[in-house]
């Protein structure tokens, strides 16, 4: 097979990928999104079972050039036409729609959809003729255009919180800094606190942020929220996987705006333009802003330059207690969450982190409960530790910034406790079954050997008895 060369994008391309609503077939889109990223694009991946509304809102908030989807479960005509209509309704007809669905989408339907305005539906034959990379090259080339490059009246109308306007403003700040003068941003009407969240990769930050968002929206019926989430770019291809949205269930809400940024410089934890993005969200008068950064790890203190209150998310898997001495964020963070608290060694981790926190802050006399170190299991529904963390964050924000965000949530004394599906002392069950069954097999083998020996001995005895009998007669 001849290798197809990758297309080289001229512009910074952002593409939203997902599988259709009520459709769990995500194998194909997972292959595609990797190739799209490998071809130098920033990919915002939403995963499977996504409604048109969710995908369209995401594409607009992220100022994406294109949406790439798979649909294997039928209803594709309605789905994609609706997507096209909704984009049009929201003034974002420039966002191109690409899709594939194997043999499920018939050739006549492909024609119908493309006539309607869907940029391209890839058929199995396209795949065979173009090859996978060929198909992706085609998709990326068709998406290789600039979205808005110059501001119109954006800065004057930011406060309306139109996601499209905010998204375009951030893009211009990021792609055309020469066309963006941050001094022209209007002042927000009140104090708008910025919560910075950072932590090690795999600590469950996105789930934790989602759980905070869920509580925030329930706590305040009218407050708005902007989330800026930063993920690293790949140095080799320039592409990036902006994967925070896939874990988030609460953000498709008119009160929430979310923007994913790629660092565009592989050695940084933050995008160069994160401050501009924060300023734009501030000018848009959101009630609170969350900035979440990529999990580069131990020297991740940059975020404290951009936020009022900072939260460091980690797990028990930091190695020896002495490793904690290297984590700068334990000096700087206002709050620390030890997430995935159901993991082994979490109690020890909590003790060690508290000790380290006391040392770092000269709080040797403080009692453990008063320290802002929280045990959380964000993946567990309505986790008491998460409730406590949320409350503590909001309280900290109020005291530090005077923002009008007094939480009505109650602080509980409850600790995060994993409700185990399999009790911890039973977790070796599969090994026990293997041992049990192999023991049986060995026993069966041994017993059979004994039986065989008995058979041989009895046979021998029979022969000897017979011979003796014959000799006697």
């Amino acid at each position: 097979m001849q290798q197809i060369e990758k297309y080289q994008p001229q512009n910074k391309i952002r593409i939203v990928t997902a599988a259709s609503l009520f459709d769990g077939h995500d194998a194909a889109i997972n292959v595609m999104r990797r190739l799209i990223q490998g071809t130098g694009c920033e990919v915002i991946h939403l995963g499977h079972n996504r409604s048109v509304d969710e995908v369209v809102n995401c594409a607009i908030q992220e100022d994406a050039q294109a949406i790439a989807m798979t649909s294997y479960q039928g209803g594709h005509i309605e789905y994609f036409k609706y997507m096209f209509d909704l984009l049009k309704e929201k003034g974002s007809s420039h966002i191109k729609i690409f899709a594939g669905g194997g043999g499920v989408i018939l050739p006549t339907e492909i024609k119908e959809l493309e006539t309607y305005g869907i940029a391209k539906i890839y058929s199995p034959d396209d795949g065979r003729i173009m090859g996978l990379q060929g198909m992706i090259n085609d998709l990326v080339a068709k998406s290789d255009y600039e979205t808005l490059t110059e501001l119109k009246n954006h800065l004057q109308i930011l406060k309306e919180k139109n996601p499209k306007i905010i998204a375009e403003t951030i893009t211009i700040a990021e792609n055309h800094p020469e066309n963006f003068d941050k001094t022209k941003l209007l002042k927000p009407s009140t104090t708008i606190p910025v919560l910075g969240i950072t932590g090690t990769g795999g600590a469950g930050k996105s789930s934790l942020v989602d759980e905070l968002v869920r509580r925030y929206l329930a706590d305040f019926s009218d407050k708005t929220l902007a989330i800026i989430s930063v993920d690293p770019s790949k140095r080799k291809t320039g592409g990036a996987l902006l994967g925070d949205r896939i874990r988030m269930n609460s953000i498709n809400n008119p009160r929430v705006y979310m923007r994913s940024l790629a660092t565009r410089q592989a050695n940084l934890a933050l995008s160069k333009y994160v401050q501009e993005s924060i300023d734009i969200c501030r000018a848009a008068d959101f009630d609170m802003i969350i900035v979440e950064t990529s999990g580069i790890g131990q020297s991740d203190t940059e975020i404290t330059d951009h936020c009022d209150v900072s939260l460091y998310v980690m797990t028990s898997e930091f190695g020896a207690a002495s490793q904690l001495e290297k984590i700068d964020m334990l000096d700087f963070a206002d709050l620390v969450a030890i997430n995935k608290f159901d993991k082994k060694g979490s109690l020890d981790a909590l003790r060690d982190v508290r000790k380290q926190y006391k040392r770092n802050h000269n709080l040797f006399e403080a009692n453990d409960e008063s320290l802002p170190v929280f045990a959380t299991i964000a993946s567990q529904f309505n986790d008491p530790g998460m409730n406590n963390l949320y409350k503590a964050i909001m309280d900290k924000i109020c005291t530090k910034t005077n923002a009008p965000l007094q939480s009505k949530a109650e602080l509980t004394l409850e600790q995060s406790k994993k409700i185990f599906v399999i009790p911890p002392d039973r977790v070796r069950y599969l090994a026990e079954i293997v041992e049990n069954n192999k023991r049986y097999d060995q026993w069966a083998k041994k017993q059979s050997e004994i039986a065989q020996k008995l058979y041989q001995l009895k046979g021998t005895l029979e022969i000897l008895n017979k011979e003796e009998d014959e000799a006697r007669h």
Binding site: N49, S51, Q452
Partner: protein
């Protein structure tokens, strides 16, 4: 000589009594299968079975063929690891003989609204003594939502499955089938919202029996009056079955459409009928949330909450003595369809099964109270390992349940359904697909699967037609009724390669168990998406070999026709009609309007039950009477959490 005698005594002491018995009783056991009739008891009934059939050439073909071993070592080892069908470790099968007069054939349907699928069920089961109905739901239902005019939902209503959003829908769907009859069994392919659909099904079955009670006691007029009064009071029209009843549908289940037995019968009468109905329904609900998270993705609730719902269902089954309904179908099918090889399919599925065992035990249920409610579901492809997949599954399960969990014989018996592999069907030279399906069905039948579904050859490109489904059914019938060797019920026992393959696959499954164990068991491994990644890797391996031709597929990558065996594109596919979609939305709206007074209280009670950690299914049974699928799902999200996608 004395030396030999001493040795015999010493070895006899080492021989376990049960082994001694197996050796001593072998000749009498053998005789059972050579005598003309074999007598055995099932649920206190003695059955007499002919042990031989006669061929056209007048040969006597034994149903069970026994080994010719004489040496004790071989004889004992064979009995300990193989044994005759129906005896531990059940390698060759869990029953001594196959059921007579009933082919393990399921009748599959699911398209459009409940009426269309009901018609289809009656069409495919007309004249069949046993009604084994398999229900496929549309994707809206699979994801626990209600039909809606919103286009992204609208387009999926009634496509590739039936739309069921309310109890009324379920009543219409199964109308004319006596759900409590011993010859009816219903399987429902539903996972995320399984508990809710099961609630609809159970209520439909109960109300059918209420209807029979009403007729038997001549209460029709009185009940009719009550229903009319109820509807007059609400100033609404009574729902009805849309269109004419199909041939075979006697209308059972439709009298109480729009009401429930509890509204028209005295409470004590209703409760009694409820208990009796639930104890007699037969069928399976798939409800296997672990494989959903690993392979198929129709998860709607957080995994913990979904597991809890499964546990609540099983617990409810135990309390209400629901013995003939499988509370879960532990499925490898979707794992295989997603690309796993047969060993991985088997290992992941069994490990999921043992996870349910551990979870139910941890909730205080007794192994013998729930293990008989578990069933399995595998795919059969053409790989060599598929020749022994049932043998290995039965053997591993039996050894573990007997010795590790101290379960009784009924618990030790692993029952499984086979569907031939959909993934092995190709869109090129689709006529060849029936040949593949035939070979897979042969594997399954020789391996004594408990039930079988054969795919239609055109399934790779479209919804199967009546013609293609009939051919698929013929595959099973020809194997079961025409193929002479199938008159024998253990045709693969005693084959060197089958025994070797069985050992090999069994060992491979244990190795996989250990890999999962290292990752903290099934749930631990799921957190790092171990299973998902493994399936994906194996899928990629197959695709690569298929693509480069190393893995030959006739008519696909080799043996192409002179025209190059192009992909077959269907002219037309069966889709639900506008009328059906609109009708589903209209009936849902009428249902919700009718129950707008009652529904909120029950939804709230459902949430309180969940928070109080009590049995949710118990309340769900009542909520299902007045709430729609989407209403219930959404109420439960608020207390159990929604599924969080992974990458």
């Amino acid at each position: 000589m004395q030396n030999i005698k001493d040795k015999i005594i010493s070895f006899e002491k080492q021989l376990a009594p049960e082994c001694k018995e197996l050796i001593e009783h072998w000749s009498s056991k053998e005789k059972l299968y050579t005598d003309e009739d074999y007598n055995y008891t099932v649920r206190n009934k003695t059955l007499k079975i002919k042990t031989h059939t006669e061929s056209l050439s007048h040969s006597q073909i034994p149903k069970i063929s026994t080994p010719r071993y004489t040496a004790w070592g071989d004889l004992l080892h064979w009995q300990l690891q193989e044994n005759v069908p129906g005896e531990f470790p059940y390698t060759a099968g869990i029953y001594p003989f196959k059921r007579e007069g009933e082919d393990p054939t399921r009748m599959f349907a699911g398209e459009g609204g409940p009426e269309r699928t009901n018609k289809r069920f009656h069409y495919v089961s007309l004249g069949q003594p046993a009604k084994r109905l398999s229900t496929a739901f549309d994707s809206v239902t699979l994801y626990g939502e209600d039909p809606h005019t919103r286009p992204d939902i609208y387009g999926k209503i009634g496509n590739s499955g039936v739309s069921i959003a309310t109890l009324d829908d379920a009543k219409k769907l199964y109308s004319g089938f006596d759900l409590c009859s011993p010859t009816t069994s219903v399987s429902m392919t539903i996972n995320g919202p399984a508990a809710i659909l099961l609630g609809f099904f159970m209520n439909a079955a109960i109300d059918q029996q209420c209807e029979k009670y009403i007729i038997a006691n001549g209460l029709e007029t009185e009940v009719e009056k009550k229903i009319n009064a109820l509807y007059q009071h609400k100033n609404m029209e009574r729902p009805r079955y849309h269109g004419d009843l199909p041939q075979g549908n006697d209308g059972l289940g439709l009298m109480l459409l729009g009401v429930t037995g509890s509204e028209v019968l005295p409470l004590d009468v209703y409760e009694k009928i409820k208990r009796e109905s639930m104890a007699s329904v037969r069928g399976t609900v798939q409800a296997d949330i672990l494989k959903e998270d690993q392979a198929q993705n129709t998860c709607i609730f957080s995994t913990e909450f979904a597991l809890r719902l499964m546990g609540d269902i099983q617990h409810y089954f135990i309390i209400n003595k629901i013995r003939n309904f499988y509370s879960v179908s532990i499925s490898g099918y979707h794992i295989a369809e997603a690309g796993a090889n047969p060993i991985t399919q088997l290992a992941l599925t069994l490990s999921n099964g043992f996870t349910y065992v551990e979870y139910y035990l941890s909730r205080g249920m007794h192994i013998d109270d729930f293990a008989p409610n578990l069933s399995f579901f595998f795919s059969n492809g053409v790989d060599p390992e598929y020749a022994v997949i049932g043998r290995v599954a039965r053997r591993i399960w039996a050894k573990a349940i007997k010795h590790k969990y101290n379960g009784n014989e009924r618990s030790q018996m692993l029952k499984y359904h086979i569907q031939t592999s959909g993934r092995s069907l190709h869109a090129q030279e689709i006529d060849f697909n029936d040949i593949r399906t035939t070979l897979q069905a042969l594997y399954a039948i020789y391996d004594n699967c408990n039930s079988l579904h054969t795919n239609a050859y055109d399934e790779a490109i479209t919804t199967p037609t009546e013609e293609s489904v009939r051919r698929a059914m013929a595959i099973q019938l020809i194997i079961n009724r025409e193929l002479g060797l199938t008159k024998n019920e253990n045709p693969i026992q005693g084959s060197f390669i089958i025994e070797e393959m069985t050992d090999l696959v069994e060992a491979a499954v244990y190795a996989e168990f250990m890999s999962i164990n290292e990752r903290g068991g099934v749930l631990g491994a799921m957190e790092t998406m171990y299973q998902r990644n493994k399936i994906q890797e194996e899928s990629l391996y197959y695709e690569t070999l298929k693509h480069n031709g190393e893995f030959p597929i006739i008519g696909v990558n080799t043996f192409l026709s002179s025209k190059g065996s192009p992909t077959v594109i269907p002219q037309e596919v069966i889709r639900s009609t506008e009328e059906e979609k609109q009708y589903q939305i209209a009936t849902l709206k009428a249902f919700q309007k009718r129950n707008e007074q009652e529904a909120p209280a029950l939804l709230q009670k459902l949430q309180q039950t969940a928070i109080a950690n009590e049995n949710i299914f118990e309340v769900l049974m009542d909520a299902c009477k007045v709430c729609s699928l989407g209403q219930i799902s959404n109420a439960l999200y608020a207390v159990g959490g929604q599924y969080r996608r992974n990458m």
